[in-house]
Amino acid sequence: MPRRFVFWPASVAICLSFTFPLPVLAKDELVLAIGGEPDQGYDPLLGWGQYGHPLFQSTLLVRRADLSSKPDLATAWSLSDDRLTWTLELRDDVRFSDGSPLTATDVAFTFNQAAKAGGRADLSVLQHARALDDRHVRLTLKEPRITFVESFYTLGIVPAAGRDNGYHDSYGRQPLGSGPYQLVEWQEGEQLIVERNPYFHGPTPAFERLVFLFTGEDTTLAAANAGRLDVAAVPPALAGQPPTGMYPLEMETVDNRGILFPMHPDDGERRGTGAPIGNDVTADPAIRHAINLALDREMLVEVALHGHGRPAYGPADGLPWSNPEDQIEDANPEAAIALLEDADWRLGDNGLRHKNGQTARFRLTYPASDSTRQMLAEVVAAMLTPLGIEAQPTGRHWDEIEREALHRDAILFGWGSHSPQEIYYLYHSQHAGQAFYNAGDYANATVDDYLDAAQQAASFEDSLSLWQKAQWDGETGYGMRGDAAWAWLVNLEHVYYVDECLDLGELPIAPHGHGWPLTASLLDWQWECD
């Protein structure tokens, strides 16, 4: 009996393997496992398309690989002198995938609806959007905010609710847009199958059909090894030898990890939430500068990221709004020790430094569910020991971090966005102590001024130099040479295994979030073999 039991599945499996159609090899279909399934569906109003290509919809503008702008739906755009009104002109030949035309009404509807949808797309600064005629739309803001342009690149346009085929509650499962592809079937939790949209206004994509598998990391790897995938996202920890016929593709990112320092001493104060504020050790700039100096970021990349990453010196390394001059010679414990000595932090018997009865010790808190951050915290702690600084790696749940640690411990965060709005949230005193934003209560009036001036710039290009100055203007700034409000550690690298025949074109620096950002270059993908 037991013997029969063991053998029948085997024989069934062997029989079955003959009945399966192998994946079609005439390459008009790609199978990708890059994760990123949006559980809520493909609804831009709820946040679909924030990263990478929205696939089903198109946006007003698109980014080139160097992050400069290129027109898509909009052919011309201008900002009024009071920085409150955007006026955009639209192409007149755009059609939804059912053949009906896309007009300014749809654009206005999309923006208005997204502003009140309460999803992940944040348009709270929008006053209202109005269609001037079929081809012109006017967007009015509540206050000047240059980073509003982010929505031009990310917000996919949906058909207005008023039309026959318009937006409705279950749009996320039946998306209709003017993007390069249209939905064939979404098997939730498993895969998404899409085909070319015959009415697409841009260049015809090289592949008729795309299949996105939503498998877990390990399953993805197994499937890639079995030769079933054309593109597979691989966690850096597992990226070793790629399967035969595939090459490893490393995508640079600003998906960064860094340490936030509480900037104020502990006065026994508490937030409205009851969370305690302040840390006597990290409030001392000497400690923060010493940590920034001593850390060996190359080593961090090597150990914690298995070599798949690059050192991080700021929140947006390599993006046009980060300041390349905010640079230091790190991995330099001697300089760090000298700096601590100058600041009167003296080495005690227990191997730790002291100053005014204060021991150089603080908790380095990380969200317990994240093994990369755990590893970073452990390695950072090991690197600080020779300095006489004890960082105690502490893993906690997010809610516990919010209740206990957020404004009191040094915290290992991860950010990285394609919009400088994030800089504003992280460093403007207006957001000091607001939940996760500027949790360390960083405040510098000069930095505030630069950030505000940037938001009021006449164009996005004009704002760039102001963002840079907020980081380091030669005298002060939020960066390492200035207040060193953070110790940025590493930028992750997203690793993919890609079929040797597949050319993915030029890829931009990716934001936070593994997987979908790869589709940014979707329209340039080519099959090189035949």
Binding site: A13, L16, A435
Partner: protein, 329 residues
């Protein structure tokens, strides 16, 4: 007689409703007690990419803000109208999600349930009819070991062996990549179900095998067996003629009563095999604070398991009429 049956039936139904109501209240209060911020859970990794104003908007839109009592009354009123609410994780009506997810889980559960009952029963009969033999020892060892094995670990092991190592079964999902659901034939579907269902069925085998074995021992030591042996019947004859009949209803009872364990196992198995069933939705709902979905799943599974328990109970009384006030260990 008929009247009595009807009375018993109504009492059962009343009891079930009471239990469901109790579960609803308990589950709701438990969820309300959670310290997890629903807006954070909703935003996930994008937690810092929205403004404070947007957070307020999100809380308003999905009703995270209302006081607990208001939320409960709203929810209960909708429930009375047959509406289970709207899931924010899946952005769809909860009833749709439960229907489609349960359909996927049902085949898994059914195969696993049948498999474990039949296999457990067969092993139990073999072990019980040959007490002390090698087969008996092996089967007992197997059952004890299995009862102590974490099911998710077992699932990982068989996945590695059969899907990754040997390549006999697919590594995940309910259908092959790129194939439309309508094109998937039942053989393909079965192929994808095979490994998860087998793993899940192993979970229930041990208990049923041991229980059946005990019943068989009882029989083999009884006068019936002695009499049959005296008449020249072999042990095997006795086992399958009398024993099987003697032990099959208790085994079935036990199998019905362990639907809860089975569903619990399916949560873990679906997680490992990336199988898009109700179990996976339970984990998502829990991790991401999807209150209406979590509540509905709690109620739905209670209904499912309680029905199993009720059937088991009826069956038990029917098998053993001596039992009126039952005491089961």
């Amino acid at each position: 007689m008929g009247m009595r049956l009807i009375a018993r039936f109504t009492a059962r139904c009343g009891r079930l409703l009471l239990v469901l109501a109790a579960v609803a209240v308990a589950a709701f209060s438990l969820i309300q007690a959670s310290p997890i911020d629903p807006v954070d859970a909703y935003l996930g990794p994008q937690v810092a990419q929205v403004s404070p104003e947007q957070r307020t908007l999100i809380a308003e839109r999905w009703g995270f803000d209302d006081p607990a009592a208001v939320q409960f009354v709203k929810w209960a009123r909708n429930l009375a109208n047959g509406e289970l609410g709207w899931s924010h994780v899946y952005n769809a009506p909860v009833s749709d999600i439960i229907a489609s997810r349960f359909r996927a889980s049902l085949s898994l559960l059914a195969i696993a349930w049948l498999g474990s009952t039949l296999l457990g029963f067969a092993l139990g009969v073999i072990a019980g009819s040959h007490e002390g033999s090698l087969a008996d020892r092996l089967i007992r060892l197997y059952s004890y070991t299995l009862a102590s094995t974490p099911i998710f670990w077992l699932a990982i092991a068989v996945l590695l062996l059969f899907s990754v190592g040997l390549g006999w079964t697919p590594v995940c999902c309910a259908s092959p990549p790129g194939m439309l659901r309508a094109d998937v034939d039942w053989l393909t579907r079965l192929h994808h179900l095979l490994l998860p269902a087998l793993t899940l069925s192993l979970l229930g085998v041990a208990q049923i095998a041991l229980h059946t074995r005990a019943r068989m021992l009882e029989l083999m030591r009884s006068d019936i067996a002695l009499y049959a042996l005296a008449q020249g019947a072999t042990r095997r004859d006795i086992a399958w003629r009398h024993g099987a009949r003697h032990a099959c209803l208790p085994a079935l009872t036990l199998a019905l009563a362990s639907l809860g364990e089975l569903f619990g196992g399916s949560i873990l198995v679906e997680q490992v095999f990336a199988y898009p069933g109700l179990g996976q939705a339970t984990v998502e709902a829990g991790l991401r604070s999807d209150i209406p979905l979590l509540l509905a799943i709690a109620l739905f599974t209670t209904l499912f398991v309680s029905l199993g328990n009720a059937f088991a109970d009826l069956l038990y009384r029917w098998v053993d009429p001596r039992l009126r006030e039952e005491v089961r260990p």
